[in-house]
C-alpha cells in the first residue's frame, strides 16, 4: 500500500452529486492502536515516578528525554503502520474500555455512551501523523534544549502527557473523549507554559491560557450537551449516520431547527478558545513564556490546531444549518484574527512573539478556510504550517538558547555569518519563505493559496462577503511576508552584532534561578564570566541542528502531498473523513497542470437543505434543486477564475511584502536585493516610518491594548464583583442575617443580665418574690 492509494475516487460525487460527505460505517480497528496514546502515557507516568521518587538525579538524568523521545517515536511508527494498514474510506473504531456508560431506558437517546474508544478516519490519521511525528522530533530537540534545566523530568512528563491528551482529542470516537483530550491539552499547556514557575509572568501566562481556554471549553461542553439532547448520542459513527441522513435522534428533519444553528455555534466557541481566535486569542502570545519546544509543538504545530480539527470533524454539523451561520462567524473571525494578528506582528520586537502572532494569523487563515468551505485548504494549511512554524519556533529557540534568552531583533544581527549558526539560519530562511508564501518552492504557498482562492471562489450568496474575506487575506499575506522577513533581515543577515540576554540558560549554571525573574535577581549570567564583557554565543548542538534540518526539509517536502491525486494527499484523506466537503465553486484546477476535475463543480448543498425533499417537504425556496446547475455562480477574482490567477496574485502580494521588509530592514548588500541600507543591529529605516505613522505604530506594538481592554471590561469588573460579593457575604449574609439572628437571644440576655447582681441576697429576694407570686396566683385561682 502506498500513499498514492489514498487518492479517493470521487465516484460518490460523480454519481450522486448530492452527497456532501463520505459517511462510511466504521469497522473495528486493531486494538494495538491504543498504543498510540498508551506509550506516551507510560512515558509520562515513568517520568512522574522518577520525579516523585527522586530518581531524576536532581534533573541531571537524561533518561526522561530519551525515554519519552523513544516512546513518541514508537508511537509515531505505530501510527504510521496503522495508517498503512488502514483501508481507506472506512473508519476504524478501536474500543479500549468503557468509560462513561449510563442507560435509563432502552429507546433511542436513552443512554449516554462515552467510551474510551478511538475513531480513525482520514482526518484523525492526518492529525495523528504530524502530532506524533512532530512530537517525537521536538522531543529530541528538547532533550538538548532543556538539558540544563532542573525540571527535566517534569518537562518530559508533561510533554508526553500532552501527546496523550492530543491523541485522545484527535482519536476519540466520541465528543466526550474529545473533551477529555481538549481539557487535557489545556492542562499540559498550562503546565508547560508555567514551566518556569518561579517567574511570575510565566505563571500568569499559564493561568491566562487555562482560563481563556476554559471559556471556550464551556462553549464546547454546551455544544456537546446540545448535540446529545438532539441526537441522543455523542459517538461519531452514530452521530454522523444521522447527520448524513439529515435527521436528529428521533428521526425528525433537522432543517430549520434551532439546534442546527446552535450546535455549531457553541462548538465554534470551543474551537475559538483552543485555536486562539478573536476574541479569545489573548492567551497565545503570552504562552510564549513557556520553553521554546513547547511553543513549537503545542502553541504552533498541534494544540492550537485542535480548533480546526474540531470544526473539521464536526463539519457535517456545521453544514446542517441552512444559513451556515456558524461558518459565517468562523470565516469572519478567522479573517479578522489573521489581519489583526498580522498588524500586531508587524510592530513587535520580540522574535518569539512575532512568531506567536504569525501563528495567530495563520490560524486565522485556517479558520477562514473552514469558513469559506474549504476544509481541504484548512487542513492542508494546518499540515504545512505545523512543519514550517515548528521550524521557525525551533530556530528562534536556538537563538534564544545561544544568546542567553535574547529575543529582541534590535539586539541581534548577522547570525548567518556566525560560526555554527548556519543550519539555524537556513532553517529560519526556509521557515520564513514558507510563512511568507514565496511561490512554488514553499509548501506554505500552496496551502495558503488554496484558502485565498477558495475565498474568492465561494459565492457571496453562500458565505456573505467571501470576496472581502479573500481581499483581506491577500493583504494579510503581504503583511505576513513583511514581518516575517523583517525578522530574518534584522537577525540573520547584516553585520555581526549581538547583545546577550539576561538569562543564564544553557550555560551549565543549573542552580535554581535558571530563568531569571525569581527572587535572586539577575545573578544568572554573571556567574559564568559575562560580567567582564565576554559573552560567547552558544551555538546549537547536534540534536537541535538535526531536528531543525529535518523540519526544514519536512517543510519543503510538504509541497509534495499537494500534488498527489486530484485534491492532494490531504484532500484525499479528508475525503475519507467527516470533514469532506467538496464545494466545487469554480474549476478546481489541480496544481502542476494536471487535469481539472470538471465534474466536481456542483452546488452548495447544505445538508438540511437537501434533506428537506428527502422527507417529503419540498420547498422551492430553500431546496437547492431549485437552482439549476450554474445558477449559483462561483465568484470570480476580478472576473477571472480565482483558482487560476491566485497563484500569481498572491505571489505578487508576498513579494511586495518581502521587498518592503528588505527596504526597511535589509542590510547593505545582496541580502536585501540592493534596497536595504541597515548597517547596525539597532537602527533601521523602519524607525523613520514608524515615526511617520504616529501613534498607530505604538498601538500596534501594544497589541491594540486588547489585553488592557479585557482587563478593564472583564477582569476588573469581575474582581470588583467578587469583592462586593465577599463583602456582601461577610457583612450582609453572615453579618446581618446570621449573626443578626444570633443577636436576638444575645440582646435578650443582655437585657436580663443586670438582674444577676451576683449578690446572694438578690437571688434570695427573687426567690422569695417568686414564692410570693406563686402564693398569690394560687390564692387568686382558688378564689375565683
Amino acid at each position: 500500500m502506498t500513499l498514492l492509494d489514498a487518492i479517493p475516487t470521487l465516484s460518490t460525487l460523480a454519481s450522486g452529486g448530492a452527497e456532501h460527505f463520505a459517511y462510511h460505517v466504521a469497522e473495528a480497528g486493531p486494538k494495538w492502536m491504543a498504543l498510540v496514546p498508551g506509550l506516551p502515557l507510560l512515558g509520562a507516568v515513568i517520568c512522574l515516578a522518577m520525579l516523585l521518587f527522586k530518581r531524576d538525579m536532581g534533573g541531571r538524568s537524561r533518561v526522561p528525554a530519551y525515554l519519552v523521545t523513544a516512546l513518541l517515536g514508537i508511537s509515531f511508527v505505530v501510527t504510521l503502520i496503522g495508517f498503512l494498514q488502514w483501508n481507506h474510506g472506512q473508519p476504524w473504531v478501536v474500543h479500549a474500555f468503557e468509560w462513561i456508560n449510563v442507560a435509563w431506558g432502552s429507546g433511542a437517546g436513552q443512554s449516554l455512551q462515552a467510551n474510551a474508544s478511538f475513531y480513525m478516519d482520514g482526518l484523525s490519521w492526518l492529525w495523528m501523523l504530524f502530532v506524533t511525528g512532530l512530537g517525537a522530533a521536538i522531543c529530541l530537540y528538547a532533550s538538548e534544549y532543556m538539558a540544563n534545566d532542573k525540571g527535566y523530568a517534569r518537562f518530559f512528563s508533561a510533554f508526553a502527557l500532552f501527546v496523550v491528551s492530543m491523541s485522545c482529542l484527535v482519536m476519540g470516537d466520541n465528543l466526550v473523549m474529545l473533551y477529555l483530550g481538549w481539557e487535557g491539552v489545556g492542562l499540559c499547556s498550562y503546565l508547560l507554559i508555567g514551566y518556569f514557575y518561579t517567574k511570575p509572568s510565566a505563571v500568569a501566562a499559564a493561568k491566562k491560557a487555562f482560563i481563556v481556554n476554559r471559556i471556550g471549553d464551556l462553549g464546547l461542553a454546551l455544544g456537546l450537551y446540545l448535540t446529545f439532547t438532539t441526537f441522543g448520542t455523542v459517538q461519531y459513527d452514530e452521530l454522523f449516520a444521522m447527520v448524513s441522513a439529515g435527521v436528529d435522534g428521533s428521526g425528525h428533519s433537522l432543517a430549520g431547527t434551532w439546534q442546527a444553528t446552535w450546535i455549531p455555534l457553541l462548538l465554534m466557541i470551543g474551537a475559538f478558545g483552543k485555536s486562539a481566535q478573536f476574541p479569545l486569542y489573548v492567551w497565545l502570545p503570552d504562552a510564549m513564556e513557556g520553553p521554546t519546544p513547547v511553543s513549537a509543538l503545542i502553541h504552533a504545530a498541534t494544540m492550537v490546531t485542535a480548533g480546526v480539527y474540531l470544526i473539521a470533524r464536526m463539519y457535517p454539523l456545521f453544514l446542517m444549518d441552512e444559513a451556515l451561520t456558524a461558518l459565517h462567524v468562523v470565516a469572519y473571525v478567522g479573517t479578522f484574527t489573521a489581519f489583526l494578528a498580522a498588524t500586531i506582528g508587524m510592530a513587535q520586537f520580540d522574535i518569539k512573539r512575532i512568531m506567536a502572532y504569525s501563528t495567530l494569523s495563520q490560524l486565522g487563515y485556517m479558520f477562514a478556510g473552514l469558513g469559506v468551505l474549504t476544509t481541504n485548504g484548512a487542513a492542508y494549511h494546518v499540515f504545512t504550517h505545523a512543519f514550517f512554524k515548528a521550524t521557525l519556533f525551533l530556530a528562534c529557540g536556538a537563538v534564544m538558547h545561544g544568546f542567553a534568552g535574547q529575543l529582541d531583533l534590535r539586539k541581534l544581527s548577522g547570525l548567518w555569518n556566525m560560526k555554527g549558526w548556519r543550519i539555524v539560519s537556513v532553517a529560519m530562511l526556509v521557515g520564513c519563505l514558507n510563512l511568507s508564501g514565496i511561490p512554488v518552492i514553499t509548501a506554505g504557498f500552496w496551502s495558503k493559496d488554496m484558502i485565498i482562492a477558495e475565498a474568492f471562489t465561494t459565492p457571496n450568496q453562500v458565505i456573505a462577503g467571501s470576496s472581502l474575506i479573500g481581499w483581506v487575506l491577500l493583504i494579510t499575506a503581504g503583511m505576513t511576508a513583511y514581518y516575517t522577513f523583517r525578522v530574518f533581515f534584522r537577525v540573520f543577515v547584516g553585520p555581526v552584532e549581538f547583545e546577550p540576554g539576561d538569562e543564564a540558560h544553557g550555560h551549565g549554571d543549573d542552580d535554581d534561578h535558571g530563568h531569571g525573574g525569581d527572587d535572586h535577581g539577575h545573578a544568572g549570567h554573571d556567574a559564568h564570566g559575562h560580567g567582564d564583557g565576554h559573552f560567547h554565543p552558544h551555538a546549537p548542538g547536534w540534536a537541535i541542528n538535526f531536528v531543525l534540518a529535518a523540519l526544514a526539509i519536512g517543510s519543503t517536502v510538504a509541497i509534495l502531498p499537494n500534488f498527489m491525486g486530484d485534491h492532494g494527499w490531504v484532500g484525499g484523506l479528508l475525503h475519507d473523513s467527516t470533514a469532506f466537503y467538496q464545494s466545487g465553486f469554480g474549476h478546481h484546477e489541480a496544481p502542476a497542470g494536471e487535469h481539472a476535475l470538471a465534474n466536481s463543480k456542483m452546488e452548495v448543498v447544505p445538508v438540511a437543505a437537501h434533506s428537506a425533499p428527502a422527507h417529503g417537504a419540498p420547498s422551492h425556496d430553500s431546496a437547492p434543486d431549485a437552482h439549476a446547475a450554474g445558477e449559483v455562480h462561483a465568484n470570480s477574482f476580478l472576473g477571472m477564475n480565482a483558482h487560476a490567477v491566485m497563484y500569481y496574485v498572491s505571489t505578487l502580494f508576498g513579494l511586495a511584502g518581502l521587498a518592503f521588509a528588505a527596504y526597511l530592514h535589509g542590510p547593505v548588500g545582496a541580502w536585501s536585493f540592493g534596497i536595504g541600507n541597515r548597517t547596525k543591529a539597532a537602527v533601521s529605516r523602519a524607525d523613520g516610518w514608524k515615526r511617520a505613522i504616529g501613534p498607530i505604530g505604538r498601538w500596534a506594538e501594544h497589541k491594540w491594548y486588547v489585553d488592557e481592554f479585557y482587563d478593564l471590561i472583564l477582569r476588573t469588573p469581575l474582581r470588583v464583583i467578587a469583592h462586593i460579593f465577599h463583602a456582601f457575604d461577610k457583612l450582609i449574609i453572615d453579618g446581618a442575617l446570621v449573626d443578626g439572628a444570633g443577636l436576638l437571644p444575645r440582646l435578650l440576655g443582655r437585657t436580663l443580665r443586670p438582674m444577676q447582681s451576683g449578690v446572694l441576697h438578690g437571688y434570695a429576694t427573687g426567690m422569695a418574690a417568686g414564692i410570693g407570686i406563686i402564693v398569690l396566683i394560687v390564692l387568686v385561682m382558688t378564689l375565683s
Partner: protein, 540 residues
C-alpha cells in the same frame, strides 16, 4: 452485622483510647480505623452488587416498640459507597494527624473515632429517627474537635457551626415528624421506617409536601450548604484542625446532600417538581457567587472552603435535575468532592504545619521547597477543577449534562424541570473554578519563593526540626490513596455508575407521574427557540 460493627467499632475504639494511656492513643485509633476500613471492604464484598438497589446487609432491633422506633440498618449501593468513603477517609485522617496533634491526644483521637459512628449511622439508617439521631450526633464530636483543636478563632467557629446546623436540623426534624405523624394517623401505629414513610409522604397534598420540603431543606441545605445558608462553613473549615476540615468536606457535607437524595427527592416529589427551579437557582447562585468569593480570599483554607460551597452547588443542581444522569453525577460528585477537597485540605494542613500560616500574602512559590507537596497540590487542584481523566470531571460533566437534558427537547432530553440556561449559567462555574483554583495555585505553589518571616533561614535555624522540608513518607501515604481514588474514579467510573443506576431509578420512580408543568405544553420558554435563525430560503 457488619454495619453494626462499623458503628460500634469506632465507638469501642474511642472508649479504648479514652481509657488507655496517652502514648497508645494514635496507635489505637489507627488500628480501630483500619479494622473499620477492613470491615467496610468486607461489607463491599458481601454486598450483592447485582441487586444494588435493594437494602442489604441490614437488620433491625426494636428500640421503642410502642413508638415504632427501631435500630434499623441497611444499605443500598449509594449508601455503601458513602460508607466506604467514610471508612477510607478515617485512617487517613488519623494518619494525617500524627504530627499536627501533639497535645491532648487522647481527647483528639477519641472524638475523631467517635465521629465515625454517627456518620456511618446516617448512611446506614433505615429508621428515620435513628437517622436523625445520628445526623445530629455528628455535631458533638465535630464541635469538640473544632473548639479544642482548632486555630485562633475556634470557639466562635465551633459555636456557629453547632448552632447553625442544629437550628436547621430542628426544622428538618419538624418536617420528618410531620410525615411520621401523618403516617401514624393513617395506619394507626407509629412507624419510622423510611420506606413506609416514603409512601405516606408521597400521597400528601402539594401544600403539605411543600411545607415538608421547606422544613427538610432548612435542615439539609444548611448542612450541604446551599447558597444563602453557607456562612458557617468557611469559618468552620478555616478554624477546624486538618482532619476536622477533611471530614467536614469529605463526609459531613455529604450528610446534607445524602439526606436530600434520601428524603427530599423521594418523599415530596410533587413539591420538588414545583420548586426545583428555585432550588436550582440557589445552587447556581451559590456556584458562581461562592466561586467569585474564593477569588478574593487571602487564606488558602478559606478559599478551598468556599470552593466547597461552589462545588456542592453542582451536586444539588444535578440532583434536582431529576434524571438519571444528573443524579448519578450528583452522587458521584459527593464521593469525588470528598476525595479531592479532602485531599486539598490535607495538603493545606501539611503546608500549615511547616509554615504556621495559610495566608497567600506570606506564602508563594512553595514548589521550589516542596516539589512533592506541590505535585499533590496541583494534582488535587486539577481534580477539583474538573479536569477530564480525573474524578471531578465525570461528576461535574454528568451534573451539567443532567441539568441540560432535564426538560430539554430532542431525543436525548428527558422530562424535567431545568434546561439549557441552568446548565449554561452553572457552566460558568467551571470557568470561575479554574480562575480561583489556579489563582491559588499560582500564588502559593508557583511564582517566586516567598516564606513567612522567620522561615527564610530554614536550614540554619531548624525551626521545624520535626518535619522535613518536603513531605514525609507518612504524609505521602495519606495522599496517595486519595490520588489513586481520584484517578480510578476519573478513568474508570463505570462500576460505580452501574451500581448507582438501580438505586437511583428506584428513587426517581417517585417522579413517574409527576408533572413538570412549566416545561410541557405550548408554553415553551426555551429562550433559544426564539433566536433560532430563519430558514435558509428566507435568508437568501
Amino acid at each position: 452485622m457488619m454495619l453494626w460493627a462499623l458503628i460500634l467499632i469506632p465507638l469501642l475504639t474511642a472508649a479504648l483510647i479514652a481509657s488507655g494511656p496517652r502514648g497508645a492513643a494514635r496507635g489505637t485509633a489507627m488500628l480501630g480505623s483500619l479494622i473499620s476500613l477492613f470491615i467496610a471492604g468486607l461489607a463491599a464484598f458481601q454486598f450483592d452488587w447485582g441487586n444494588s438497589g435493594a437494602m442489604q446487609l441490614g437488620g433491625s432491633v426494636p428500640f421503642l416498640p410502642s413508638f415504632g422506633v427501631e435500630f434499623s440498618l441497611g444499605v443500598d449501593a449509594v449508601a455503601l459507597a458513602l460508607i466506604l468513603l467514610t471508612a477510607l477517609l478515617q485512617p487517613l485522617m488519623v494518619l494525617g494527624s500524627f504530627s499536627a496533634i501533639t497535645s491532648d491526644e487522647k481527647t483528639y483521637y477519641a472524638w475523631l473515632m467517635a465521629l465515625m459512628a454517627p456518620m456511618v449511622g446516617v448512611f446506614a439508617a433505615r429508621d428515620l429517627l435513628f437517622f436523625y439521631v445520628c445526623f445530629e450526633l455528628t455535631l458533638v464530636p465535630m464541635f469538640i474537635l473544632i473548639s479544642l483543636f482548632g486555630s485562633t478563632n475556634r470557639k466562635k467557629a465551633a459555636i456557629k457551626f453547632f448552632l447553625y446546623t442544629f437550628t436547621g436540623s430542628i426544622l428538618a426534624l419538624a418536617g420528618l415528624v410531620y410525615v411520621a405523624w401523618k403516617a401514624s394517623a393513617q395506619t394507626g401505629a407509629w412507624s419510622w421506617d423510611i420506606a413506609t414513610l416514603q409512601m405516606v409522604a408521597q400521597s400528601m397534598s402539594l401544600k403539605e409536601q411543600s411545607w415538608v420540603m421547606l422544613a427538610m431543606l432548612a435542615g439539609f441545605a444548611v448542612k450541604i450548604p446551599l447558597f444563602p445558608v453557607h456562612t458557617w462553613l468557611p469559618l468552620a473549615h478555616t478554624e477546624a484542625p486538618t482532619a476536622g476540615s477533611v471530614v467536614l468536606a469529605g463526609v459531613l457535607l455529604k450528610l446534607g446532600t445524602y439526606a436530600v437524595y434520601r428524603f427530599v427527592l423521594p418523599f415530596v416529589p410533587a413539591a420538588v417538581a414545583e420548586y426545583a427551579e428555585a432550588i436550582a437557582l440557589l445552587s447556581i447562585v451559590g456556584i458562581v457567587y461562592a466561586g467569585l468569593i474564593c477569588w478574593v480570599q487571602r487564606d488558602v483554607k478559606k478559599l478551598v472552603a468556599y470552593s466547597s460551597v461552589s462545588h456542592l452547588g453542582f451536586c444539588v443542581l444535578g440532583m434536582v435535575a431529576i434524571n438519571l444522569i444528573g443524579a448519578q453525577g450528583s452522587l458521584l460528585y459527593m464521593i469525588n468532592h470528598g476525595l479531592s477537597t479532602g485531599a486539598l485540605f490535607f495538603c493545606i494542613g501539611m503546608m500549615y504545619e511547616r509554615y504556621h500560616t495559610r495566608s497567600m500574602d506570606e506564602l508563594g512559590g512553595l514548589a521550589k521547597k516542596m516539589p512533592i507537596w506541590a505535585f499533590f497540590m496541583g494534582f488535587f487542584t486539577m481534580a477539583s477543577v474538573g479536569l477530564p481523566g480525573l474524578n471531578g470531571f465525570v461528576s461535574e460533566f454528568m451534573c451539567l449534562l443532567g441539568t441540560f437534558q432535564s426538560g430539554a427537547e430532542g431525543v436525548g432530553g428527558v422530562r424535567g424541570p431545568l434546561g439549557f440556561w441552568f446548565a449554561a449559567i452553572a457552566g460558568t462555574g467551571m470557568i470561575v473554578a479554574a480562575i480561583y483554583l489556579l489563582y491559588m495555585v499560582g500564588k502559593v505553589v508557583f511564582g517566586p519563593l516567598k516564606e513567612p518571616a522567620g522561615h527564610g533561614h530554614h536550614d540554619d535555624a531548624h525551626g521545624h526540626a520535626h518535619l522535613p522540608q518536603d513531605l514525609t513518607g507518612r504524609e505521602i501515604g495519606v495522599l496517595v490513596p486519595l490520588a489513586i481514588g481520584c484517578v480510578v474514579l476519573g478513568v474508570y467510573p463505570t462500576p460505580v455508575l452501574k451500581a448507582f443506576e438501580a438505586p437511583i431509578q428506584h428513587t426517581l420512580a417517585a417522579y413517574d407521574g409527576v408533572n413538570f408543568e412549566d416545561f410541557d405544553g405550548e408554553d415553551d420558554d426555551h429562550g433559544l427557540a426564539l433566536v433560532a435563525l430563519p430558514a435558509q430560503g428566507e435568508a437568501r
